[in-house]
């Protein structure tokens, strides 16, 4: 994504002035002082991002979207807060944690998206700036909006950014984009149900492959066995149809970011969400390592997450966005069964894999380990419901 020049970030073109929003007085959304004699005077009390207060500035015309958007996880980031609470044992928003909450909102919390960050500007996390000279776009741009935030994993996987890996089969530049699967209804908060995180069992708007591909359930023996379930073991679609994807270790707040390693791998784990109304139909799923560590929040004075090993796994359910019909899992020799590629294979997440990847200095090129990792026992415990024995 090409950065915008400083002037481009605030430059307005005829295309905006000719659009519907261009007929609205600037001050109606941005306040400020239109009669100011200079830049400073004109920008007094300026509202840079009106849609942060969508109920005031957007709701008069877009009432339904503004109402539901307030409850969407793009806005609330409830998943961030809930995961923190599960691992730490306390709610950041409760009394006594004001300092931690301030730090959390200043760093993790800034990733939330307002209406404008999808429909007018680039997201604030990448420096913002008017995306189309202030023109409003009904559908956000894949590159400058969606993958500006969801870039390092989803974006690179979807568009074939990893060397040696193919794009997602659904990716057709300029045609099939994010909205092909992720509806506006989903992005805007669905029917107003407040979700705790994206895999919330009440997330009725989450895309399902079956919506388009249900006809294929009986199309071959693999689908019959592992999708229809005649074998007694069901797999998520990604188990067979995704390629290697990115995993990370050791994220730390306070500006350090990822202090561990990033590596491409593919791991099948047990579905620890089984029983969740929305994801209960798979026995095995693809899992991705997230970079949480017991000392992730140390720079904020939170030295440890006491529930690290007894709350959430660190190898979590993932929906890699690099789907292909033919993958190393589905390509087997002529006449061979699927077991030759998959059953009891290297793709299973074993305890030994936890040890291998959890090493902060793991090198995906050489496979070198040997630096030790003091938190390995906790990692093994945290993933006990995911690891395949």
């Amino acid at each position: 994504m090409t950065p915008l020049e400083p002037w481009e970030r605030v430059y307005i073109k005829d295309s905006f002035m000719d659009s519907l929003h261009g007929f609205i007085d600037c001050g109606w959304c941005h306040e400020g002082n239109e009669s100011g004699a200079d830049k400073d005077e004109a920008h007094e009390d300026l509202v840079h991002y009106p849609s942060e207060e969508a109920r005031f500035y957007c709701a008069p015309c877009h009432e339904e979207q503004a109402q539901h958007y307030r409850e969407s996880i793009h806005t609330t980031q409830e998943g961030y807060y809930e995961r923190f609470e599960l691992r730490s044992g306390y709610d950041l928003r409760s009394e006594g944690y004001e300092h931690a909450l301030e730090e959390f909102e200043g760093e993790c919390g800034k990733c939330h998206a307002s209406c404008g960050q999808c429909h007018v500007t680039r997201p604030v996390t990448v420096g913002s700036g008017l995306n189309w000279a202030h023109e409003f776009k009904k559908t956000p741009d894949l590159k400058t909006n969606c993958t500006a935030c969801h870039g390092s994993r989803v974006g690179e996987e979807y568009t074939g950014g990893h060397e040696g890996l193919k794009t997602d089969v659904h990716y057709i530049p300029g045609a099939k984009r994010c909205e092909f699967c992720h509806s506006a209804h989903e992005m805007h908060g669905g029917d107003g149900t407040v979700l705790t995180y994206r895999f919330d069992e009440n997330n009725s708007e989450a895309p399902r492959c079956e919506t388009c591909h249900s006809y294929a359930q009986e199309s071959n023996s693999y689908h019959q066995q592992h999708w229809a379930g005649t074998s007694g073991v069901t797999l998520s679609c990604q188990v067979c149809h995704s390629q290697n994807y990115k995993n990370c270790n050791g994220c730390h707040v306070g500006g350090d970011g990822i202090t561990g390693s990033s590596y491409l791998t593919f791991e099948i784990g047990r579905n620890y969400l089984k029983g969740n109304a929305r994801y209960q139909d798979y026995d095995y799923i693809t899992v991705r390592h997230i970079p949480i560590a017991p000392n992730t929040y140390e720079p904020w004075g939170i030295a440890d997450l006491p529930n690290f090993e007894n709350s959430e796994p660190t190898w979590k359910m993932t929906i890699p966005h690099n789907i292909q019909r033919w993958t190393p899992q589905t390509q087997v020799a002529e006449g061979a069964g699927c077991s030759t590629a998959c059953h009891n294979s290297q793709y299973y997440l074993r305890a030994s894999d936890i040890a291998l990847y959890e090493n902060a200095n793991y090198n995906e090129d050489t496979g070198e380990t040997g630096y030790g990792y003091s938190g390995l026992t906790r990692e093994l415990q945290a993933n006990k419901d995911v690891i395949i024995p």
Binding site: M1, P3, L4, E5, P6, W7, R9, V10, Y11, I12, K13, D14, M17, D18, D25, C26, G27, H30, G32, E34, S35, G36, K39, A42, C111, P123, T125, V126, G127, S128, G129, H134, T147, A148, C149, H150, G151, S152, R153, V154, G155, G257, I258
Partner: protein, 70 residues
């Protein structure tokens, strides 16, 4: 009496011709037609549609290629 009436008609005719000439003259463009559209004359638009001005006064801000998340 008749001459007065004729004079009045002549005067009215001349007046009409003068007015018509005035109208026609007034309708003629003073300058070459300007294709640029005219937008509300607010200080916001004046500055934010002026690329050269913005290049002088716009504040630089740190931008990244992607947020590194997700």
């Amino acid at each position: 009496m008749l001459s007065r009436t004729v004079f009045a008609y002549k005067a009215l005719l001349i007046a009409c011709m003068v007015m018509l000439a005035g109208i026609l003259t007034g309708c003629e463009p003073d300058e070459e037609p300007d294709d640029e559209k005219v937008y509300p004359d607010t200080s916001c638009v004046n500055c934010h549609m002026d690329k050269d001005l913005l290049k002088e006064v716009a504040d630089p801000i740190e931008q990244t290629e992607d947020s590194g998340e997700g």
